[in-house]
Amino acid sequence: MAYIATIKDEDIRVEIEESEPGLYRVWINGADCKVDFFEARENLYSLIFDHQSYEVDIDEVENGSYSVMVKGDHFDVLVVDEKKKKLAEKLGAGAGGRQEIKSPMAGNIWKLLKNQGDFVKEGEVLIILEAMKMENEIRSPIDGLVTSVSAVEGAAVSAGALLCLIDPTEE
């Protein structure tokens, strides 16, 4: 079975098969690894390969999106079935580039700098979010038109909450 693992915007193809329960053969970057995978407790795993022992925390944050910790270092890995990814790419190609601007963290909306109907440039600040005594600027990823704003000044938002929509256009 083949998966595409995405880490820091880099796609890596990984093939895997189960040789016996708990033992896996994994092909990654041309290397062939035999991995002994043991679930020590929920979301905490002991991995042995090449006689190297690793304690690894793996939490599935969302469907296919994993938060992994190895020796104090933190990694975000997206794992998608290669077939499904190809299918999704085919469907996604040519689709509109409407941008959903979501809150990257829980906080309070400090200031709304753009309103519905405003044109924005890529990198322009849309909203200032306040959390933990810090002001955090949320910028537009594209040039476009703000088509709707759901954020309200002074209101609390949770991580991942939709703040506004931007349609790619030119002024």
């Binding site: 998966y3 880490i7 795993y45 925390d57 939490d59 910790m69 190895v70 990257p104 963290m105 933990m132």
Partner: protein, 505 residues
């Protein structure tokens, strides 16, 4: 000694003070805001009172409310921790008026040291070296030009009421001077409600080194060595160590004597810290400011001297004499503190409030974890992101660094991102290891190397995630098979047809 103490703070420092009180046999009273009901400091204290809504301006900064609770709970004294009301002279006076001891210095010392201009005048009288510059405030643009010629470039413009790295600017040439004068002034009034600014020399390769002092109400005062605090991000300390890699015994004694003079200028009578800016080139040191409170980084001094600063501070507030003499103070080994915050180091240190889904804290020799959280705790959005301080001790600096690296690799916080990976990378940085750094370390020496840094365990992370995905997919497909086998109202033939039609799309 006191019978009962109220701690007017939250988080790890409130827990720290409760521990000191317990060791001294003192009962403790916690105060908390409405969102802090589940906080650790509330659980560890003997009594707890809710003092208002989440914003600190309506809770932890409400002096009157805290005094009211103190009277109700019949406490003898209030420990303010750091931040919040800890350096508020009016609050210290309010305590005195209500017959409650403020665990900190006398209010006059707080007031004088709380302002850059008055503190510089006070310590200059005691011949404490100051960065060459003005002792008064800048009046206008002409005054600014006049002083710039006396001081020379590069120079700094600073807000008199400033602190925490806000309200200061480095100016390299006369071109930008007057614009910077106006900008610093307007920033000063916005941030500190006071537009007074002054000018001083810029110190080359600046390091930030501070001396811990301890005083009592009987006129005794000692210094207990230095802390190196040059590893800063946006002028906020993130890693501290004691001793400093550039301070030898001779320099330590000179800095210690200067710190004592500075403290004596205000009859200092508690635990406090005199901060110096030190030129990494010439090793000249200049008075920066005095913090009239217990510092975040106090544990590293405790680790190398064996002195419990928090307990000494409480004892001295209760009118007891210091139990340590200057000649008894010795530094042994090396200590490092990493401030662990709910911030994402891979995403420009964006705050990451949220629930701590899992927590494993390092152990073993030489490790001290000063935590304010626990597994299952939800880090609120309203306060400082510091969740814990990892403090390690080693026989020497090299041993402390390798121990710190080991402890960080054991430290697991799940559910929210923290600065643990950032600290792990600093502990591998060659400039940090060699001790060759200044306050610009993170911007100059760290970012580039960090960007190029190949993370050795990336492959392990990918393999782990893929195996987990594979096991999940396998389990799901088995579940489909077993439900279809069980009948359950689904006609397996129909289902199979549907799967086929999907895969043909």
């Amino acid at each position: 000694m006191f019978n009962k103490v109220l701690i007017a703070n939250r988080g790890e420092i409130a827990v720290r003070v409760v521990r000191a009180c317990k060791e001294l046999g003192i009962a403790t009273v916690a105060v908390y805001s409405e969102v802090d009901r589940a906080s650790l400091h509330v659980r560890v204290a003997d009594e707890a009172y809710c003092i208002g809504p989440a914003p600190s301006s309506q809770s932890y900064l409400m002096a009157e409310k805290i005094i009211e609770v103190a009277r109700k709970a019949k406490v003898d004294a209030i420990h303010p921790g750091y931040g919040f009301l800890s350096e508020n002279a009016e609050f210290a006076e309010l305590c005195v008026e209500n017959d409650i001891v403020f665990i900190g210095p006398n209010p006059r010392a707080i007031r004088i040291m709380g302002n850059k201009t008055t503190s510089r005048v006070a310590v200059a009288e005691m011949n404490v070296p100051l960065v060459p510059g003005m002792k008064e405030n800048l009046l206008n643009a002409e005054h600014c030009l006049e002083w710039s010629e006396k001081i020379g470039y590069p120079l700094m413009l600073k807000a008199a009421a400033g602190g925490g790295g806000k309200g200061m600017r480095k100016i390299d040439s006369p071109d930008g001077l007057l614009d910077a004068f106006r900008a610093t002034k307007s920033e000063a009034i916005k941030s500190f409600n006071d537009d007074a600014i002054y000018m001083e020399r810029y110190v080359d390769r600046p390091r930030h080194i501070e001396i811990q002092v301890l005083g009592d109400k009987h006129g005794n005062m000692i210094h207990v060595g230095e802390r190196e605090c040059s590893i800063q991000r946006r002028h906020q300390k993130v890693i501290e160590e004691a001793p400093s890699p550039i301070v030898d015994e001779e320099m330590r004694q000179r800095m210690g004597a200067a710190a004592l003079s500075a403290a004596r200028s205000v009859n200092y009578d508690s635990a406090g810290t005199v901060e110096f800016i030190v030129s990494g080139e010439s090793k000249e040191f200049f008075f920066l400011e005095m913090n009239t409170r217990l510092q975040v980084e106090h544990p590293i001094t405790e680790m190398v001297t064996g002195i419990d600063l928090c307990k000494e501070m409480i004892r001295s507030a209760a009118g007891q004499e210091l139990t340590i003499k200057q000649e008894d103070v010795q530094m042994r080994g090396h200590a490092i503190e990493c401030r662990i915050s709910a911030e994402d180091p891979d995403n420009d240190f964006l705050p990451t409030p949220g629930k701590i889904a899992g927590l494993r804290v390092p152990g073993g020799p030489g490790i001290r974890d000063e935590s304010g959280v626990y597994e299952g705790f939800e880090v609120p959005i309203h306060y400082d992101p510091l969740i814990s301080k990892l403090v390690v001790w080693g026989r020497d600096r090299d041993n402390a660094i390798s121990r710190c690296r080991r402890a960080l690799s054991e430290y697991i916080v799940k559910g929210i991102k923290t600065t643990i990976p950032f600290h792990a990378r600093v502990m591998l940085n060659e400039h940090f290891i060699s001790g060759d750094f200044d306050t610009s370390f993170i911007d100059t020496h760290f970012k580039m190397e960090d960007a190029a840094h190949k993370r050795p365990d990336e492959k392990v992370a990918i393999i782990g995630a893929v195996i987990k995905a594979f096991r999940r997919d396998k389990e799901n497909s088995q579940r489909i098979t077993s439900t279809t086998e069980g009948g359950g109202g689904v006609n397996p033939w129909k289902l199979s047809g549907r799967i086929r039609s999907l895969s043909n799309r």
